[in-house]
Amino acid sequence: MGPLVTDHWYDLRDLSNISREILEGIDKVAPSEVAYIVAPVLGFVAFFLIFVLPSQLIVGVYGERRIIGRMQARRGPNRVGPFGLLQPIADAIKLLQKEALTPKTADRAIMWAAPIFFVAPAVLLFATIPFGPRMIFADIPVALIYFIAISALPVLAAFMAGWGSNNKYSLYGAMRVVAMSVSYEVPLVLSLLAVVVFSSTMSLQGIVLFQADVNLWLVFMMPLAFLIYFISVSAELNRTPTDIAEAESEIVAGYLTEYSGMKWGLFYGMDIGYALAASAFAATVFLGGWSMWGLEEWVPPWMIFIAKTHLFYFVFIWTRGTLPRLRIDQLMAFAWKFLLPLAVFNLFLVSLERLLWVENDIGDGIVFAFAAGNLVASAAAAYLWARLLGYRPERIPTKPRLVREAGGYVPVEGQTGGGE
């Protein structure tokens, strides 16, 4: 941090000042154990007030519905409270009142446990996300591995939900979730490995400081890794275009088919929670976290961070509002045939550059040259690999043939091929 940041409690650019002040005050009047209990509570309350409330309810539920409504030529929620802002709360109350049905043939224990298993990791995920230079619950050195490990846990809950419901649609959803997570975890981890190699740290705070240090966000350094991360994470989160696990038009609601009331509400709410966690992670790892080329000394860094998170989340909403859904075999093929080789290529490229940079003792300015080179190389690699796999968009006619007179069969001249 620059010289502008002070330790005064009223310096809201760093909220840890105010919490430290409170804890020190408590320490003076009460036994030291109390401070240990108050500290996490304080952190949780602060986290709730500055992140969960605005993000989960306003952006995740209300914002998503408003923005998609705007894209779909309708208004979205606009009745409860000013601009419909209280709609999420009204929905939550409604869900609490509804009966949470359990089918007769369902495995009750597993079906009831699944939402709980689904909720817990969503909270844990935020423990290692740095909101500011000192605003972090746990700055552990292997935060990146921790994040990947915890974010794989909800798959188990989804599988439990699908299995326990004893419904064929649910089982399909569960199987698809597992198959997809297993496939997409691989390119996801490989794209993040490139980040680790280049910044030579696994601590999320360390990655943010690295980006602030070289004045280049990793999204510019390795656009391919960012893209792979985005696609893989939207597959893991079941967001469109990869929402095959909850594919409404095919398998009704996937593993959520038999869920109702607040049991369903927990899944729904935490889906947004996971998407926000993935956005926060992307903002940290690829978008420079709380740093913004010196602006963080003037604007509270946690605000910058939350803005970046919401920006990333907006892309999720955007794709959901526009894109169709892929089939499961196409998704699998996409992960293994397209994303995985590109992730390996990206890892190779970035490692090579890191080696060049460190071994030859070149100045930090070289990363900008690397970034420019990577952009070109990534685009070229993605395009060439797609062509190699049979991507031929120009061969697919998007307009029908027009004839003037009714007759019989009109044969097609030339070959019109498909391609993945």
Binding site: S249, L323, P324, R325, T398, P400, A406, T416
Partner: protein
């Protein structure tokens, strides 16, 4: 390692209550994992015995029934039935009545294809957005229908010998204002979907109906044209003076779901072209001929067919000189087009089956009657 994992096929019901069966229609699919190995169509959940009921009512009283068969294109159904009765009783329709019928039928085609293309996009997973865009424009068509006939969905507008009422004063203005907006929406919808890689991957080479199969199965409408067969009753057997309008038949390449989608999009454009031409040359004079209320056509039979949004819609009537038809039969395009669903789905995945069903664009009210 004792033994490998055993798997066995099981039966999965898609419908009758399912988000993408377009009504109460059921596919009893035998699936092996994601692959469908057998599919059985179960219809009849919406059977209302219309053909039998029609034998007890007069010819005019039967018109509202036709509204309720294919409820997404009631104007076309009215038209098909009225043409059959007019053929049976040998009634001439004034030119203005014919032009109005053409305008209404073509607007109905646009409205129906809005629904068809939008619902198909929904089936491929384009979550609600294209369908909402198309629905916005469809609303305008329904407003125009309401202005003209008093009803939005079940218009009951055509009459034996013409149409029920003359056009309202602001009709032409409204339709002329609607056409450019609709063209814009068609372009938008096409821009969002036609070139979209994901959409192409989902719809291309899926649910292929080769042209031999299409002809053998007696398919019609976009299903037949998607397979590359140039066939349109408006061209092949013109009615209501379609021969005087300038329009083209869009045909597809290999008969897959994607071809049917782009054909529906193009047909909307062609329909707007016809509406414009009909408005330009709208003749004056009466909109309908006088027909006795208790019509007793001479004994005989008549079959009239039109190109409804879904294909060849035929009405077959037998008269025994009584006030009501002796036999009233509908040839619903949805039912005939649905017959190839098994061939389209078996061997594909569940997701493909949904796309196949969406690309047929069925209306269950018409299948079950």
């Amino acid at each position: 390692m004792s033994e490998i994992v055993q798997s066995e096929p099981f039966v999965m019901n898609i419908g009758p209550q399912h988000p993408s069966t377009h009504g109460v229609f059921r596919v009893k699919a035998t699936v092996d994992g994601e692959r469908i190995i057998d599919a059985e169509m179960v219809i009849g959940y919406l059977h209302r015995s219309m053909e039998k009921l029609a034998e007890e009512r007069t010819y005019t009283q039967n018109i509202p029934f036709t509204d309720r068969t294919d409820y997404l294109s009631s104007m076309s159904n009215n038209l098909g039935y009225c043409l059959a009765v007019e053929k049976l009783a040998d009634i001439e329709v004034p030119e203005r009545g014919q032009a109005i019928r053409v305008i209404m039928a073509e607007l109905q085609r646009v409205a129906s294809h809005c629904m068809g293309a939008g619902a198909f996009a929904n089936d491929t997973g384009a979550w609600q957005t294209p369908i909402m865009w198309f629905m916005r424009e469809r609303e305008k068509i329904l407003d125009i229908f309401e202005m003209t006939s008093g009803a939005r969905l079940t218009c009951n507008y055509m009459r034996i010998g013409g149409v029920a009422f003359d056009l309202p004063e602001s009709f032409e203005e409204e339709v002329r204002a609607f056409i450019p907006a609709m063209r814009q929406t068609i372009d938008d919808g096409e821009g969002l979907l036609s070139g979209n890689e994901i959409f192409i991957a989902r719809a291309r080479n899926v649910a292929v109906v080769p042209h031999e199969m299409a002809i053998n199965a007696s398919l019609s409408g976009p299903m037949l044209r998607g397979s590359g067969v140039a066939w349109d009753i408006r061209k092949a057997d013109p009615y209501c003076g379609y021969e005087q309008y300038d329009f083209e038949i869009p045909i597809g390449y290999q008969g897959d779901a994607y071809d049917r989608f782009i054909i529906r999009i193009e047909e909307m454009r062609q329909s707007l072209k016809i509406v414009e031409q009909a408005l330009d040359g709208l003749p004056g004079g009466p909109h309908s001929t006088e027909v006795p209320l208790a019509l007793r056509p001479p004994a005989g039979e008549a079959y009239a067919r039109i190109e409804s949004p879904r294909g060849e819609l035929g009405y077959y009537l037998v008269s025994d000189e009584g006030p009501s038809p002796y036999r009233f039969h509908i040839r619903p395009p949805s039912l005939i087009n649905l017959t190839v669903l098994r061939e389209m789905t078996v061997g594909g995945s569940i997701a493909d089956a949904i796309v196949a069903l969406g690309s047929i664009d069925i209306v269950v009210g018409e299948i079950d009657r």
